[in-house]
């Protein structure tokens, strides 16, 4: 197992790193939001651009163009409760870049605290990065199907409760993504996260596979939540439920109850 780099970076540390120029900050919001303002010296990588083609070759190119080499410390942020940032961070990790973490708050929270923002583009000189794929953090549909019955494997669905009740992968348990955050941080304090998982009887040594609706964002956040609670063996089913359904894999639902009619939406 790779050394566990820290999952999140707090505002103070990041500001320190900005001062000594020892970090590459990635803003994954849309280009027009980034243009308005962003954390000083950050570079923009809208999630959509990454998702358009997230093959290792393409991701490598993107990373290099963002000035990331094997040693670069990377911090990623978004304004979508950390889910988009998680997807980008995970993708870099999968490529083999270990020095990546999430800003522990959203951009709105950063601004809300009155911290520095900037609107000038950051100049980037591209770097060279290697590829050392990390298959132990990725799950495909085939892999999930193969291992999901195994005793030490736990599949976690991070969509909202009603969506889960309506359909999910057989055997999956539900931890809605909202459960992962606290009021002012994208992730709950470690001890709280641990308590929740302990209540759910999820053993520390389990192999965990997380998934969500379509592109692995909400479940990406769950990936980091589990990491932050010291769960060493977590995989992201990156193509998630959308692919699972598309492949006509088995699905189960909670029967005989009209739970949707309890929603006031």
């Amino acid at each position: 197992m790779r050394s566990l780099s820290k999952t999140t970076t707090d505002a103070d540390s990041l500001r320190g790193q900005i001062r000594d120029n020892s970090v590459r900050i990635i803003d994954v919001r849309r280009a027009e939001d980034y243009k308005k303002d962003h954390i000083p010296k950050s570079v923009n990588l809208p999630l959509a651009e990454l998702l358009a083609d997230d093959s290792p070759e393409k991701v490598l190119k993107i990373a290099q163009n963002l000035g990331i080499d094997d040693q670069t410390q990377v911090v990623v942020y978004d304004d979508t409760f950390g889910a988009l940032a998680s997807r980008v961070a995970w993708t870099l990790q999968y490529l083999g870049h270990s020095e990546v973490s999430l800003l522990d708050m959203t951009y709105s929270q950063w601004k809300g605290l009155g911290l520095e923002t900037d609107n000038s583009e950051t100049e980037i000189s591209s770097k060279t990065h290697s590829i050392k794929l990390q298959p132990q953090i990725m799950s495909s549909a085939e892999y999930l199907e193969q291992v999901k019955e195994q005793k030490n494997v736990i599949v976690i669905d991070n969509r909202e409760r009603l969506n889960f009740l309506e359909q999910h992968i057989p055997g999956a348990i539900n931890i809605p993504y909202r459960t992962l955050a606290s009021d002012d941080k994208i992730l709950k304090p470690k001890e709280e996260m641990k308590r929740l998982l302990k209540n759910r009887n999820i053993p520390q040594d389990a192999e965990i596979i997380t998934y969500c609706g379509s592109v692995g964002t909400l479940s990406g956040l769950a990936y980091y939540a589990l990491k932050s609670a010291d769960f060493p063996n977590v995989k992201l089913y990156v193509r998630s439920f959308k692919e699972w359904k598309g492949l006509n894999k088995p699905i189960v639902r909670q029967e005989n109850a009209n739970y949707w009619d309890l929603s006031a939406e």
């Binding site: 348990i173 909670q254 029967e255 109850a257 009209n258």
Partner: protein, 602 residues
Amino acid sequence: MKLSTITKQSRQGRKPKINWGRVEESERFAETVKLFRQGKLDSDLFRRFRLQHGAYGTRMTDDYAMVRIKLPAGEVYPHQLEKIATLSEQYSIGSAHVSTRQNMQLHWVILEDVSEILRSLAEVGLTSREACGNAVRNVMCSPVAGVCPAEEFDVTPYAVATAKFFLRNPLNQSLPRKFKFNFTCCEKHGMARMVDIGLIPQIKTINGQPRRGFKIFMGGGLGNRSFVGHQLEDWTPEEDLLYTSIATIRIFDRLGDRKHMERNRMRYLVNEMGWEQFQTLILKERAIVRMTQSAIVKLSVDETPQKLESHIRISGFDDKSIPDGFSRWRKGNTFAQKQSGYYSVSITLEAGDITANQLRALADISKEFSAEGYARTGFVQDVYLRFVSEDDLPRLYSKLLEVGLANPGSLTMVHPIGCSGTTSCNLALTNSHRLAKEIQRKFIELKLDEDEDLRESSIKISGCPNSCGQHQIATLGFFGGGGRVDKDMYPVYQMSVGGRSDGETMLGVTVMRIPAKRVIPATLKLIEVFKNNKKPGEDFKNWIHKVITGHADSQVKSVNDIKQILLPFTETPSIEQDKDFYADYGSDSSYHTRTGKGECAA
């Protein structure tokens, strides 16, 4: 209550004086769930423990629970609303449900997460302790107590003190069955006669001195068999409130039926024993309680005058900018308080459901608009904001409109009650919850909220013969069941008419079974017949009352006549002719009944 102190509105909103929560209980809950899951705790014992902590079972599954958050007297503060909003997104379905007993419920919670909810509730001073199970349930209090023009004094402090006295009190940890208190403000707003102990405030002049006391009713209640409560005595002075309550609970604890689940509520004891004998027992027991306990126990009634906050008023609303529908809303959702210049506003929720975002908006709105700085849940799955300045009503309306909380007709018949039914209840036979929503949408579309004749009437729906939806005290009551054509089943409702819970409390009279998909047209038909037959000035409620009590002076003279009129609605098409007839609301497949073990929940 004196309305003297004016303080400045704070940004965080007002905080409650009483902390109902206990963090330790959440830890104990988590441990107990573990023991149960490991098979080290018997399932009946676990069930009792779970209910005592406010967690109900859920339809057809052991994996999920419903957490019932107790709101004594319905009081809920802005930061508590915000917390409930967050909890609903984290652990429930993103909506919460306001019950007919002023609780807020979170449904479809994973049993293993309940302890996390209990912990968070305790952090904001809330609890679900004794919200279910055989204990004194949430102590209810009229949502307009303190502002009702007809009340003699504000009973809220007495309700809150009663809740405080009994919560976690050993007296009430294993009663034969649940026990319900209901404090009302006046004869009209409440249901003093339909609970174990119901109270109406009454001032009596003794030796030239006005003294506070109550009319106390006992042994009423709705259920598979319903009874109307009896008045204990002419007048009960406030000092005797606690002694009477303790005495009643002691008698019930001692003599109540612990064997027969279906008749263990106190009303059956009263019925079997006969009222006179029960009454004598209570009065005797009270004398003993008074003698032995007077030195030690007392209700801690909080008499400090309520603080009203001055408003930060953003420039006035000129007539032009008042959004459409304001006067309709004002007419059907608000009323003038006894304090001049102030209004109370009832917010109607579809079958009591409210989204997380609406809860957050409600938190902000209660900070901004209510001079008392908090909200109160009502008796009909609604929420009240009180002490709203008359000038602020248009702005409040537009705020509510923005978040989808401005449906008209909250105080009229277009606002029905529907218990949870097949959305979550194990005993449910039909989707009563959705039917209530369908009726409300249809009736608002037809603008029936603007019809003065219908204002005082009510529609209440239960998903099975248990009366969580209180169908027996509704002008039009419905409870769900299954009908059959050969081997095909379809959802039906037993309809009753003329129920009421006011000074002339009576149970509705059974009319007939109406297929679920015909309930709306049958109801509209009955309204049409009423319109054609009513005397000038007569409203729907009174017209029905006359019909069922044999005083009708129109063409429709009896329940039987109503039956004849509605008969066409009971015709059953074949499944080939009308597939929809055989499916319940909210479901596109054919209807079948399926029930589990009972722990009901409106």
